[in-house]
C-alpha cells in the first residue's frame, strides 16, 4: 500500500480548495466569453449589422431598354427584338452530357459549341442558366417546344437583342452595338452600364450612346448564401433610352446603295437648305447584325481581309483627290477676286507651261479646247483654264476660298471618325513635312491644285457639302443625321434646329454665274455629263471629276490581275437639283470608276430621281 498514510481530512480540505480554484477559473473563462460577446454584439454591433445586411441584400442592376432608331419617315432602322435563346440550368438536369448529346442530335446545339458550354457550366453557379444557343430560328424554337417534356432543365428564353432589319442598308451611318469592352469602360460611367451588355461601337449608335442607352435602374433583392434571389425588396425602374429619328430617308438610302451595287464607292446626299443628311452610303457595306450578335473570329477576319474593305467607311473616311469637281468653286473664286470675268476667254492648246519653264501641264483633252470662256471651262472641264486661273489666284486665295466651301476641314457631321481632307497651302506644307527640302512650296504645285490634284484630298461627304453650299448660294449648314429625339415614355419630341455656317461672302450674281456653268455641265451641248441630263424633268447642276490614282489605294497589296483595275482613276461627281431652288445636293465617288461622267454621274442621277421623282415612263 501507500508509503504515507492518507490524511482524509487534509485531503478533503485540499480538494475543496482545488474545487474553489476551478470554479474561479470557470467563472473567469465564462466572463471572457461574455466579454467577447459584448465586444461583438454591443461595441461592434453597427459593423456586423452592416455586414449582415450586405450579406443578404444584393443590389442588382436593371438594364434600360435601348432607344430605337427611325429614319425621317418613321421607318425602323434599329430595334430591340426578342430573340429566343436555348438555356440549360445545370442543377435541374440529371445528366448534362446525355442531354447535350440529344440536343446535338436534334441539331439544336452545335457540336463545336460543346467545349464552350462545358466551360460555362463549370464556371457558373448551378442554378444560373448556361446559354446553349444565342438565337433559335422560329422552326428550331417550335422543334424544341414539342420536345420540351423530354428535356427537364432546358428551356427557351426570350431576351432583347439589337436588330437592324435593313441589314446592310445605311450600315456605315448607323454603325452597330457590340459587347462592352475594357476600353469602353474607361470612357463611360461604369455604374450606369452595370447591367448592360452592349454599347454603341460605331456610327450613330456610338455618337448618341448617351441618349440611346438610358439610365440603369436597380433592384434590391434578398439572396441566400448561394446567391439565389429569394425576394425583391425594392425597385428603381430603369429609364429607357431615347428614340432617335434620323434625317436619312431609307428609300433614298437604298437607291443610293443600289446605284453603287457591285462597285466600291460612296454617295452622300444632303438637303442644302438645312444640312440634313438624306443618304450616306458607303459600298460595300456589312451587316451590323453580325456585330450585335457577336461575330466569330473567322467572320471578322473575312470582313477585315476582304479586298473591297466593307468595313471602310468611304463616305467619311475615304480621302480622294477631288479632281475637276472643284472647278466651279475655283471659277467662282476667280470671279470673286476679280481674276477673271465670265466673258474672259482663254485659248487652250492642250497644255500649259509656267512662264520661263518648259514643263508642260497637259489638258485631259490632248488636242485642246480652243478658245474657251468660264462657262465652257466648267462644262467641258478644261484643265488649261484652271492652270492659268490657279496661277492668277495664287495658292493662298485658293486655299482660303476652298475652305469656305467645307474642304480641308471636318464638316462636323454627327458621326465619329470623319476625316478632314487636305487643301494644301505653303503653311500646310511647312507643317506637314519634316524634311526641310520637302517644306518648300513650288509654283507647279499651285498649278495642279487648280485641277484638284496634287496634295489635295476630300471625302465624299466634303464633296456633298461643297455641292450643298454652292446649291444654297453660299449659305451652308453643318451636316447632321439626327433629326429629332423622342422620349418613349411621354412621346415628347425635340426636333433639332439646323445649324447655319458662316455665309460665304460672294456676290449672289456671281453665284448664279457659277450655277449656270454647272447647269451647262449636264445640259449644255458639250457638257461632260450631258448624258444624264437628257430626260431629266428638272434642271440638274453638276460637275464631273476624274482623279488620277497615284500608287495603290490604302496601300493594300492586291493580286496581279486586280492591279490594273485598281489603277484606273477614281470617278467623282457633285450635283444639286433643281438648279434654281435646290432640294438635294449629292457627292458621288466610285473608286477606280474610270471617269466621272461615265461612272459617277449616272449614280448621282439615280439618287436625284429617287428623291425628286424620275421622268414619267
Amino acid at each position: 500500500m501507500a508509503d504515507r498514510l492518507k490524511d482524509t481530512w487534509r485531503e478533503q480540505r485540499m480538494f475543496f480548495g482545488r474545487v474553489v480554484a476551478a470554479a474561479i477559473c470557470v467563472v473567469l473563462l465564462a466572463g471572457l466569453v461574455v466579454g467577447r460577446l459584448v465586444d461583438l454584439q454591443v461595441l461592434n454591433f453597427e459593423h456586423f449589422s452592416r455586414l449582415s445586411q450586405g450579406n443578404r441584400v444584393r443590389l442588382e442592376p436593371v438594364p434600360p431598354v435601348r432607344g430605337l432608331l427611325f429614319d425621317r419617315n418613321g421607318h425602323v432602322i434599329a430595334e430591340n427584338r426578342p430573340v429566343y435563346q436555348l438555356e440549360l440550368v445545370p442543377e435541374q438536369v440529371d445528366d448534362v452530357d446525355s442531354t447535350l448529346q440529344r440536343l446535338v442530335a436534334l441539331a439544336l446545339v452545335r457540336e463545336e459549341d460543346l467545349p464552350r458550354i462545358h466551360t460555362q457550366i463549370r464556371s457558373q453557379r448551378a442554378f444560373e442558366p448556361t446559354i446553349l444557343r444565342y438565337r433559335l430560328t422560329a422552326e428550331e424554337a417550335a422543334l424544341f417546344a414539342v420536345r420540351r417534356p423530354g428535356f427537364p432543365g432546358v428551356d427557351i428564353q426570350a431576351r432583347l437583342a439589337r436588330e437592324y432589319p435593313g441589314r446592310e442598308i445605311a450600315s456605315h451611318a448607323v454603325g452597330y452595338v457590340g459587347a462592352v469592352s475594357e476600353a469602353d469602360l474607361e470612357e463611360i460611367d461604369a455604374a450606369n452600364y452595370a447591367g448592360t451588355s452592349q454599347i454603341g461601337k460605331l456610327g450613330i449608335e456610338r455618337q448618341y450612346e448617351d441618349l440611346l442607352h438610358g439610365t440603369t435602374g436597380y433592384r434590391q433583392v434578398l439572396v441566400n448564401a448561394q446567391g439565389r434571389v429569394l425576394q425583391e425588396l425594392e425597385r428603381t425602374d430603369a429609364v429607357p433610352g431615347m428614340n432617335l429619328y434620323l434625317t436619312l430617308d431609307l428609300e433614298l438610302q437604298a437607291a443610293a446603295e443600289a446605284a453603287l451595287a457591285g462597285r466600291r464607292g460612296a454617295v452622300v446626299a444632303l438637303d442644302p437648305r438645312n444640312g440634313q443628311v438624306l443618304a450616306l452610303a458607303s459600298v460595300p457595306g456589312y451587316d451590323p447584325n453580325l456585330f450585335s450578335q457577336g461575330l466569330t473570329a473567322a467572320q471578322y477576319r473575312g470582313l477585315q481581309t476582304d479586298p473591297d474593305q466593307p468595313l471602310f467607311n468611304r463616305a467619311l473616311r475615304g480621302q480622294y483627290p477631288p479632281g475637276s469637281t472643284i472647278k466651279p468653286i475655283l471659277a467662282l473664286a476667280g470671279l470673286h477676286y476679280g481674276a477673271v470675268t465670265p466673258a474672259d476667254t482663254v485659248f487652250c492648246p492642250g497644255w500649259y507651261s509656267l512662264p520661263g519653264h518648259s514643263h508642260r501641264y497637259r489638258d485631259w483633252k490632248r488636242q485642246g479646247h480652243g478658245t474657251i470662256d468660264m462657262e465652257d471651262s466648267v462644262a467641258q472641264s478644261c484643265d488649261v483654264y484652271y492652270y492659268r486661273l490657279a496661277v492668277a489666284l495664287g495658292i493662298e486665295r485658293m486655299h482660303e476660298f476652298l475652305n469656305w466651301f467645307g474642304l480641308g476641314h471636318r464638316t462636323g457631321l454627327d458621326v465619329p471618325g470623319e476625316k478632314a481632307g487636305i487643301v494644301p497651302s505653303p503653311d500646310w506644307k511647312a507643317s506637314a513635312f519634316s524634311r526641310r527640302e520637302d517644306q518648300v512650296w513650288f509654283p507647279g504645285e499651285t498649278v495642279i491644285t487648280g485641277i484638284g490634284q496634287g496634295y489635295m484630298l476630300a471625302t465624299p461627304l466634303q464633296l456633298a457639302q461643297a455641292a450643298a453650299i454652292l446649291a444654297n448660294r453660299g449659305q451652308g449648314f453643318r451636316p447632321h443625321l439626327l433629326m429629332a429625339v423622342e422620349n418613349p415614355a411621354t412621346g415628347e419630341r425635340d426636333v433639332l434646329a439646323p445649324e447655319p455656317l458662316p455665309k460665304v461672302g460672294v456676290n449672289p450674281a456671281l453665284f448664279e454665274e457659277g450655277v449656270d456653268a454647272m447647269v451647262a455641265v449636264v445640259n449644255g451641248p458639250r457638257g461632260t455629263a450631258r448624258a444624264i441630263g437628257a430626260d431629266a424633268p428638272w434642271t440638274i447642276a453638276g460637275k464631273t471629276g476624274t482623279a488620277q490614282v497615284i500608287g495603290i489605294a490604302q496601300g493594300e497589296e492586291y493580286d496581279e490581275e486586280e492591279t490594273a483595275e485598281r489603277h484606273r482613276p477614281h470617278a467623282l461627281f457633285i450635283a444639286f437639283a433643281p438648279a434654281a431652288a435646290p432640294e438635294i445636293a449629292v457627292g458621288v465617288l466610285v473608286e477606280n470608276g474610270g471617269s466621272g461622267s461615265g461612272a459617277a454621274a449616272p449614280v448621282a442621277r439615280q439618287v436625284l430621281d429617287a428623291w425628286l421623282g424620275g421622268p414619267a415612263p
Binding site: 500500500m1 501507500a2 508509503d3 504515507r4 498514510l5 492518507k6 490524511d7 485531503e11 478533503q12 485540499m14 480538494f15 475543496f16 482545488r18 474545487v19 476551478a22 470554479a23 470557470v26 467563472v27 473563462l29 465564462a30 471572457l32 466569453v33 461574455v34 467577447r36 460577446l37 459584448v38 461583438l40 454584439q41 454591443v42 461592434n44 454591433f45 459593423h47 456586423f48 449589422s49 455586414l51 449582415s52 445586411q53 450579406n55 443578404r56 434578398l222 439572396v223 441566400n224 448564401a225 448561394q226 429569394l230
Partner: protein, 378 residues
C-alpha cells in the same frame, strides 16, 4: 459518527411525488432541472437553426430522451461498482483503440469507428470517461497530493490512450480525453510547482516548435486540429459566425428571423455553430441566459464533487463537471473567434448524437455519486 440508512434520509424531509421519484431514482433535482433547461433551450434553437424541420427536431428529441434514459440507468449504479470496474473499462478501451488502429472503419476520412456488427462504436467516446475514471481509481487509495512516482504512472495512463486517439487521427478528441485525465490529477492536488513547471515547459516549447515550422506545416497543424475543413473554409466559418453573433445585438433579430442562419450564410448552423444562431436570433440576452444555465449545471457538478465522500467520486465528479465546461468553452471560443476552429459541438444543444450519450453517462455518474451518498450524522 453513525451511519444512517437511506430510509432515515427520506424521513427527515417531506417530499412531493416528483421529488420522491427523483430521490428514489438517485437523481439530483437541481442538476436534472439545469440539464432540462439547457436541452429545452437547445430544441428551441435547433428548430430555427435546422430550418424548421420537424423530423430533425424529432430525431434530436429522441436522442435526448435516450440520453436521459441512459443517465437514469447509470444513476442506479453505485459508485463503488464504477470504481471496481474502472480498470477493466480502461483496459477494454485501450484494446478497442488498438483494434481501431489495426482495422477500424474509415468514416469521414479518419479511422475512428469500430463496427460491432449491430452498432458502430467510437472507442474514443468510451475513453472520455474511462481515462478520468482510471486516474481517479489510481489515486483513490494513494495519499494526496500525488507523489512524483504516481505522477509518472498517471502520465502514462493519460498519454497512452491520448496518443492512440491522436493517431486515428483525431487530435481534438485526444486533447479532450487527455484534459479529462489531467483535470483529475489537478483536482487530486498536483503541486503548484509542477503545474507551473509543466505550463512553462509547454509554453516554452510551443513557440519554438512553431517558429521552426514552414507555413504549409503550420497550416497542416491547423488542419490537423480540424480535419473536416481547410483553413480557408475555417476562415469563412469564423467570419460568418462573427457576423451572425455581432448583428444579433442585445436582443437578437427574433426567433427564426436570423438572416445569417436562415439564408445559409452560416455554415454548420445546426451543429458546431449553433451558438451563433442563438446569438443572432436571441442576442446577448439569450446567450447570457444559456451561459448562466451552463454555469449552474457546472456549479452543481462541482458542488456534488465537494460533497462526495471518497477520493474516487470526488475526483471523478470534479473532472466530469470541468470537462463539460471545457466543451462549452472550446465551442463558444471557436464560434466567437477566440479559439481556432476545432470540431467541438456545443454540448446538449448541437444536433448530433455521438457525444450526447457520453455526456449523459457522465451526468448519470454525477447523480449516482450524489444519490448514493451515505448520510453522515454527527
Amino acid at each position: 459518527m453513525s451511519v444512517m440508512g437511506e430510509q432515515a434520509l427520506r424521513e427527515t424531509r417531506p417530499l412531493s411525488v416528483a421529488g420522491r421519484l427523483v430521490a428514489g431514482l438517485k437523481l439530483d433535482g437541481p442538476l436534472l432541472a439545469g440539464l432540462l433547461v439547457i436541452c429545452g433551450f437547445g430544441l428551441v434553437v435547433l428548430w430555427s437553426a435546422g430550418g424548421q424541420d420537424a423530423s430533425l427536431l424529432q430525431r434530436q428529441g429522441l436522442r435526448l430522451g435516450v440520453g436521459l434514459g441512459v443517465m437514469v440507468m447509470v444513476a442506479q449504479v453505485p459508485p463503488k461498482f464504477m470504481r471496481i470496474w474502472s480498470p477493466w473499462a480502461f483496459a477494454l478501451g485501450v484494446v478497442l483503440l488498438g483494434l481501431v488502429i489495426v482495422g477500424g472503419d474509415v468514416g469521414k476520412g479518419a479511422q475512428r469507428w469500430l463496427d460491432l456488427g449491430v452498432v458502430r462504436f467510437q472507442p474514443s467516446e468510451l475513453m472520455k470517461l474511462a481515462v478520468p475514471m482510471m486516474a481517479a481509481w489510481y489515486l483513490h487509495d494513494r495519499p494526496l497530493p500525488p507523489r512524483f512516482r504516481d505522477m509518472l504512472v498517471l502520465g502514462v495512463l493519460i498519454v497512452v490512450p491520448a496518443v492512440m486517439i491522436a493517431v486515428q487521427p483525431d487530435l481534438g478528441t485526444a486533447l479532450l480525453v487527455a484534459s479529462a485525465g489531467v483535470l483529475v490529477v489537478l483536482l487530486g492536488g498536483l503541486r503548484v510547482r509542477y503545474i507551473v513547471a509543466l505550463g512553462a515547459l509547454g509554453a516554452a516549447l510551443a513557440p519554438v516548435l512553431w517558429h521552426y515550422m514552414h507555413d504549409y506545416q503550420r497550416r497542416r497543424v491547423l488542419t490537423f486540429l480540424n480535419p473536416e475543413s481547410d483553413p480557408l473554409g475555417a476562415g469563412y466559418h469564423i467570419i460568418q459566425s462573427k457576423i451572425a453573433i455581432g448583428s444579433g445585438g442585445l436582443f437578437g433579430k427574433g426567433w427564426t428571423n436570423g438572416t445569417q442562419a436562415q439564408l445559409e450564410f452560416l455554415p454548420e448552423r445546426s451543429t458546431d455553430f449553433i451558438f451563433a444562431v442563438l446569438g443572432e436570433e436571441f442576442g446577448l440576452l439569450g446567450q447570457g441566459m444559456l451561459i448562466l444555465a451552463y454555469l449552474f449545471v457546472i456549479g452543481r457538478g462541482l458542488f456534488i464533487a465537494a460533497e462526495a465522500q471518497d477520493t474516487f467520486t470526488r475526483l471523478l465528479a470534479g473532472s466530469i463537471s470541468l470537462t463539460f465546461f471545457v466543451y462549452v468553452f472550446v465551442n463558444m471560443g471557436m464560434v466567437t473567434g477566440l479559439l481556432p476552429v476545432v470540431g467541438v459541438p456545443l454540448p446538449l444543444i448541437s444536433y448530433g448524437g455521438t457525444s450526447m450519450v457520453t455526456l449523459m453517462v457522465g451526468f448519470g455518474i454525477l447523480m449516482s455519486i450524489h444519490g448514493h451518498r451515505k448520510l453522515l450524522a454527527g
